[in-house]
């Protein structure tokens, strides 16, 4: 369906594509894998006509094509669904699906009746039920994705590109999406699927192409590959142990953090648990189960209505983030760019932000001391940054995340809550982050890891709490920890889960 030959694309200072050959057939799901900066987005944008390659040719549906604009590619039947959905939140689902090509009545007005009927048919054909009259802003992320896919189906789509579609959804929603994508494949659509998650590649892709440093490392049938081979291709070297060895913490001592009957409406209904020093405790559950809200309610960035919390044996009620930080409880939030990183400030200022008073003297902020502290963190976590005074915006996700680890590990040594600590970072950096988490626990911190990536929870934690709809529905320990048991508690009906928890 599409063939790229010798594509080269150069940007100043940005890794791009170098002599890339790539081919995807009609009726297959072709996954493209690669670390951040490997050239995945550049490749997609070249296919979509958003970038014009310096060298190389594009063949689409048997003809050589030179897209001058994205619109040409779109008109030829190429649809891209980007990670950030391009929908109009105030319009209804059907209006979004038919945007730009709404059916007309003979008076030239919009034929809403036909539009809603056809929207319904299209959504039905995807095996998905949602109200085409609902404004898009009221739909879940998964439903919004369906709208995007339906939108792609309205035009004569021959090639559909999905850019990390599961980044913001999980569990059942992702499965629905996979079914829908497979349905499209069986109808003969060529599908290019970009993802970070290796597991889903194996459940959905027919073939896989791995990009590394702007080059095609290889295209293989999915059956020829296993997880280790894929990781090795992506990283460029063998990675034997993705996860550091587990250690069971000493549970004879008093827990460093206890949480009892925590309530923070509307998302947190009933949460109790203990966290021990040196422990890596997992908090699993589907997106929307209230995991991040638990963290916010403990940290003090969201009000709690009920519950008792102790930190280091002392009562810790109604705290503010300031109190939490001062008493050694840190919270690395899930939205790295929106809530974590301060992109206008340099690296050193990012590290010291929670503990500015430590660097304050009578004559002001001690910049030398601050730079020194940042240098220590650069060494400790092997952060690839030009220096403490350089900016953080252009760094890779992995290095940005390491800076935030430097920030919180430095400020807070008792308890660290890590919300999606490896979201959107590449495999090589993930391995390093896992080592860092292990090290922090070894240094005596109690670590609570919130993650939607089950393999991460399974690989990292010695104990896992599972949440569902605002309550802890299960606790899984040591050898019982597996993706299946966690999913069981995360999705099981409440009564069922209560039984499970009692057992």
């Amino acid at each position: 369906m599409i063939r790229l030959d010798g594509i080269t694309k150069v940007f100043p200072g940005v890794k791009s594509l170098e002599n890339v050959n790539f081919e995807a057939k009609a009726g297959e799901i072709h996954a493209i894998l690669g670390e951040n900066g490997a050239g995945k987005s550049t490749l997609i944008k070249t296919i979509a006509g958003a970038y014009i390659p310096e060298e190389g040719t594009i063949h689409f549906a048997g003809q050589e094509r030179k897209w001058a604009t994205p619109k040409e590619a779109k008109d030829a039947g190429i649809q891209i669904i980007y990670q950030e959905l391009m929908l109009f939140p105030e319009l209804t689902a059907a209006e979004n699906i038919f945007i730009g090509k709404m059916p007309r009545t003979r008076f030239g007005t919009i034929d809403y009746k036909t539009m809603y009927r056809r929207a319904n048919e299209t959504l039905d054909s995807l095996g998905h039920r949602l109200d085409p009259r609902a404004p898009v802003r009221d739909l879940s992320i998964a439903d919004q994705q369906m709208v995007e896919i339906a939108k792609a189906l309205i035009g004569e789509t021959k090639l559909l590109v999905l850019d990390e579609p599961t980044a913001a959804i999980s569990g059942r929603e992702a499965e629905l999406l996979f079914e829908c994508v497979k349905l499209l494949r069986d109808q003969g659509v060529c599908i290019i699927y970009i993802s970070h998650r290796l597991e889903e590649i194996f459940s959905i892709a027919d073939r896989v192409t791995v990009l590394k440093d702007g080059q095609n490392v290889g295209t293989h049938d999915i059956h020829e590959l296993d997880r280790d081979k894929l990781v090795a291709m992506m990283v460029g070297r063998e990675v034997n142990n993705i996860f550091p060895p587990k250690k069971t913490p000493n549970a004879d001592v008093a827990p460093v953090l206890t949480v009892r009957d925590l309530r923070a409406p509307p998302k947190v209904k009933d949460v109790s648990f203990d966290l021990y020093a040196g422990e890596i405790l997992g908090l699993a559950g589907l997106v929307g189960a209230g995991r991040s809200e638990v963290a916010h309610a403990i940290f003090g960035s969201m009000p709690r209505t009920d519950g008792t919390v102790t930190l280091g044996g002392e009562a810790f009620n109604a705290p503010t983030p300031r109190d939490s930080i001062d008493r050694g409880l840190g919270f690395l939030t899930e939205d790295r760019k929106g809530e974590g990183l301060m992109i206008l400030l340099d690296m050193a200022a990012n590290v010291t932000a929670p503990v500015l008073s430590e660097f304050t003297t009578t004559t002001g902020l001690d910049r030398n001391y601050e730079v020194q502290a940042a240098e220590d963190e650069i060494k400790r976590f092997r952060i690839a940054v030009p220096g403490p005074k350089s900016g953080v915006y252009q760094l890779s996700g992995g290095n940005q995340q390491k800076i935030l680890f430097g920030r919180w590990a430095r400020a807070c040594r008792r308890v660290l809550i890590l919300d999606e600590p490896t979201r959107g970072i590449d495999v090589g950096a993930k391995v390093e982050i896992y080592e860092i988490i292990r090290k922090l626990a070894d240094e005596g911190a109690g670590v609570l890891v919130i993650s939607s990536e089950l393999p991460e929870i399974v690989g990292l934690c010695t104990r896992v709490l599972v949440m569902r709809e605002g309550s802890v529905t299960g606790e899984v320990v040591s050898t019982e920890i597996s993706e299946e048991t966690i999913m069981h508690y995360a999705t099981a009906a409440s009564a069922d889960a209560a039984q499970g928890a009692a057992r």
Partner: protein
């Protein structure tokens, strides 16, 4: 071939970065050169003193405005506050210079309260800075009119004239006052930990709260600083003009914002320096002067001001993209 074009783009980006970095000094030099070309006596010590004296009151307002803009705000009430403070000064009906410190103290107090209300409206009641400070501007105006019933009548101590237009060893007194304020505020913004909190809050209030910074308090404090600076500026401008009417400082709210934008304070918050803001004020005053020197109608000032805003905004947009 591709390599060549990439290098070329890289070169232009570097040139752009350089241009941005030095745009303020370049503009200053260019303006002074233009003015000198049109009128050779422009660089005479006397004229320089005059220009600095004209700049100081605006620059004082600009210093405060910069703090508010840095935390993603805007203060439209500064000019109205300047006039109100001037009217307040006449209310003392004082003739002795001994009263000046008391007048200053009460002006600062009133200004601080105004700033506090602005800040509380914006932070606690979630009123947009534009609306909150616009309303404050009108309220102050109303109070002022109500009190003066048309024209202020009280007398002022002679000393204000000296503060506004006098010189010590050839240096304008209001420039000395500005320098002191600048030194203090520059330390606060660029050297103290509170200044860091301002940049963190302005860059992203959500992440500020999550590192334990009370972004609400930081923002409110910036509004208080802005109003206090406006109050001080009002007294100095009153001394410079020599008389008090209901419109001391008229137009200063927009001039102050324009000066900040020219000086590189981003309206989106968290970006810019106090040096830049002060230089922005000087650039603006130089432009006004050139308009007059060149014999252009005063209305040309407005047109030029508008064009500058567009250029500054465009330059800033380029900076965001890069």
């Amino acid at each position: 071939m591709s390599e060549v074009s990439a290098k070329a783009t890289e070169k232009t980006t570097q040139q752009m970065a350089l241009l941005r970095q030095f745009s303020v000094p370049i503009a200053l030099v260019a303006l002074v050169a233009t003015a000198t070309a049109v009128q050779p006596s422009f660089l005479s010590p006397n004229n320089i003193q005059d220009i600095l004296t004209q700049t100081a009151p605006l620059a004082l307002v600009v210093l405060g405005q910069a703090f508010v803009i840095l935390v993603r705000g805007l203060d439209l009430s500064v000019a109205s506050l300047m006039a109100s403070v001037a009217v307040l000064a006449t209310a003392f009906n004082a003739t002795s210079n001994v009263m000046i410190p008391l007048i200053f103290a009460s002006a600062i107090l009133v200004s601080a309260v105004v700033g506090l209300i602005n800040g509380l409206l914006v932070i606690k009641r979630n009123v947009s800075p534009f609306l909150a400070t616009l309303a404050m501007m009108i309220v102050l105006q109303g109070i002022r009119f109500y009190y003066t019933q048309g024209a202020p009548s009280g007398s002022l101590p002679e000393g204000f004239r000296f503060l506004g237009a006098g010189r010590i060893a050839g240096i304008p007194v209001n420039v000395i006052a500005f320098t002191i304020c600048f030194a203090g505020l520059a330390w606060l913004l660029h050297k103290s930990s509170f200044g860091r909190k301002i940049y963190i809050t302005g860059g992203n209030p959500a992440s500020a709260d999550l590192v334990g910074i009370r972004s609400d308090r930081v923002t409110i404090t910036c509004y208080v600083i802005c109003s206090v600076m406006a109050g001080i500026a009002g007294l100095f401008l009153m001394g410079f003009v020599g008389t008090v009417d209901n419109w001391v400082g008229r137009g200063y709210e927009l001039d102050a914002i324009v000066a900040c934008v020219i000086g590189g304070i981003a309206l989106t918050g968290g970006r810019g320096t106090l040096w830049g803001a002060a230089a922005g004020a000087l650039i603006l005053v130089l432009i006004f002067n050139i308009v007059i020197i060149m014999g252009l109608p005063v209305q040309a000032q407005m047109i030029i001001k508008g064009i500058i805003i567009i250029f500054a905004a465009a330059l800033f947009a380029k900076a965001i993209q890069a």
